[in-house]
């Protein structure tokens, strides 16, 4: 009995520690990984600041945007716009070079729009208070970087004393758009020139209609997941900001045959996929290849990716991996959407595990210096030692590489400190808990305790 009581006490002690709130990152996809909570928001006196600190790693090769959404809710509470103010500071440090930046974030109430991505965040639901924290520079997360994000919230001095539930989300774009055109559809037809002479997009609506299709075109995106059967991406089209249409539309993407050949991709296996954001998976769309274009019949606007597989000539090949050798036979005339599955799976897994330069995804191990086609630097940035760094602009407030106190004293002061509003030190009392983790751990411990008790015939 004594042991059981001791065990229960021990369990009570460790449950709160184990159940502390955790930052959950989607480790299966880019860009933010290895998330850690260093400090949580804690209990506070109205008027005093409460702070949270998070770490995360970004392994992409382009600068990524970061928008932090903070949502506050409380049962039966009606919020007003002055209930909380917030601000943040992102410290982004290059993993491989001694480059570091402190970037302040301002937090604003919705509605808020980001012209860089076309996002338009509307007002939150009633009984919710939301802040969007960002920097005007927008693309602020350094390529291949360790990042520390400090967030500060100050409840209004007149806030009604209550318990508030916080959700902090790290948001980023899916990639850096190549172009952001609006395509005018007239009498059911419209087209977009992407990269002459080959690359273009055509729309054939089955019902004659006039509309405008807002499009974001990406050559690569941060999102790491790819269809297993077609792991090489050609291009991505984001039509999610477009208004819905009537009927169906056939979209034709004219690809660059030289690029396909250069990369060793299979021209006949190019297909359209759409991203289901709820599952995070790509799903095949009714599509196929004709001449130098891939067609897809769409019934709705979404985020689409054009993917293919490697081309295997109709001869005997040897694929060497691990310590052995396996012979596979291919017949290119039989390559359809259902290409020989066992072969395809083996090959794909082998390539998914390793970074493949030229697949349109900037993967771990790739950088703008060793694979510029996947990890190309956006406009205004230049590749330096594998990192896309902004082309130094003296007077922009950041001491960038190439700038010194001599040639740019206004950016490179001898002592650089980021001035943030200072607050009064608050009382730190509570531990925010993750109810799911706490529930799981408590259930396991209770089960173990019960088994122990029954074995000892305590009951």
């Amino acid at each position: 009995m004594k042991k059981l009581i001791l065990f229960a006490l021990f369990a009570l002690l460790i449950i709160p520690a184990l159940a502390k709130a955790q930052l959950v990152c989607d480790e299966t996809s880019y860009p933010f990984r290895q998330c850690q909570v260093i400090k949580e928001f804690t209990d506070v006196v109205a008027g005093n600041p409460t702070e949270a600190e998070l770490n995360f790693v970004y392994k992409g090769a382009s600068w990524a945007p970061l928008v932090v959404r903070i949502n506050v809710s409380s049962q039966g509470y009606t919020f007003s716009e002055n209930d909380f103010i917030g601000y943040g500071l992102l410290t982004t440090k290059a993993i491989n070079t001694p480059v570091s930046m402190n970037i302040p974030l301002k937090c604003v109430l919705p509605p808020v729009s980001f012209e860089q991505t076309g996002d338009n965040f509307a007002s939150p639901l009633p009984n919710n208070f939301t802040l969007y924290c960002y920097n005007e520079t927008f693309y602020i997360v350094m390529p291949a970087s360790n990042n520390t994000l400090k967030l500060t919230l100050v409840p209004n001095v007149a806030l009604i004393p209550s318990q508030f539930n916080f959700t902090v989300e790290l948001m980023t774009d899916i990639g850096v758009p190549t172009i952001e055109p609006e395509i005018n559809i007239t009498n059911g037809f419209g087209n977009l020139s992407i990269n002459p002479p080959y690359e273009k997009l055509e729309f054939y609506f089955n019902e004659s209609q006039n509309l405008t299709v807002k499009t974001l075109v990406y050559s690569s995106i941060f999102y790491k997941k790819v269809p297993k059967e077609r792991p090489f991406s050609l291009i991505f089209f984001d039509f999610r900001n477009s208004t819905p249409f009537d009927g169906t539309v056939q979209v034709r993407y004219y690809f660059d045959p030289d690029e396909i050949e250069r990369n060793g991709w299979d021209k006949n296996n190019i297909r359209f996929y759409w991203l289901d954001e709820s599952t995070g998976n790509w799903y095949l769309v009714d599509s196929g290849v004709k001449d130098n274009y891939v067609w897809a019949n769409l019934t709705h606007f979404s985020l689409y990716g054009v993917f293919t597989s490697l081309y295997y000539p109709p001869v005997q090949q040897q694929i060497i991996y691990g310590g052995g050798t396996t012979n596979y036979y291919y017949n290119v005339t039989n390559v359809t959407q259902n290409i020989t599955q066992p072969v395809e799976k083996t090959v794909v897994e082998r390539y998914v595990e390793k970074a493949v330069c030229g697949n349109g995804i900037c993967e771990v191990g790739e950088s703008c210096s060793n694979c510029p086609q996947d990890c190309k630097c956006p406009n205004g940035y230049q590749c330096q030692e594998g990192i896309c760094l902004p082309t130094p602009v003296c007077g922009n407030g950041y001491c960038e590489k190439g700038e010194t106190p001599d040639n740019c004293p206004e950016d490179c002061k001898v002592t650089t400190t980021t001035t943030l509003p200072t607050g009064i030190t608050g009382r730190i009392v509570s531990i925010a808990t993750n109810p799911i983790v706490a529930w799981s751990i408590a259930t396991i411990i209770i089960a173990v305790a019960l088994v122990f008790a029954f074995k000892r015939k305590i009951f």
């Binding site: 996809s29 209990d43 109205a46 998070l54 076309g118 965040f121 509307a122 539930n165 989300e169 790290l170």
Partner: protein
Amino acid sequence: MRKFAMIGIAFLLFVSIAYAGVLSYYGKIVGNVNVQGPIFYADFSQNKLLINTKPSQSQSVSFSDSESKFIFSDDIGGVSFNYKIKCEFSLKVWSDSENQILRLYCRYYDTSWHDLCYVDVTVSKTPTVITTSCNSGLTSITNVHRFGYRFEGQSVENVKYYIESNSDGDTRFQLDKVS
């Protein structure tokens, strides 16, 4: 558990409605925070009420039964408190004779001074930290610029009261909502 499920559903609803573009979230942290009402600390060395900050040094003041002591905060900018306020007093106090009555006032200033509420405490010759509270009858107060803490002797005898403000923040009041 039901509460958590409801919060979860509310959050999902929120996400689905707010999402309109191409920014997606890749990391999420959830937690709870208790926010308490502000604390006004007496600082007799500066002769004012400090908001959420304890005084840096000790200082005591004295006044006789026929007098009062009144200190107030800096301007907080004309904010509205939309809840029924409870003032939770604390003070380190003593007098030169036993069992003397001292009245504590919780006050606010909009365009003039108003008493939110008051309460009497009994003071002894030994320096003691006394805590007590009083409730305001108002459901909200608007355009508040300052809060004030008033100490008023109630004795009919010739008594001297002493109050100390110190770095422990013993003399203060905190706002809470009447439950």
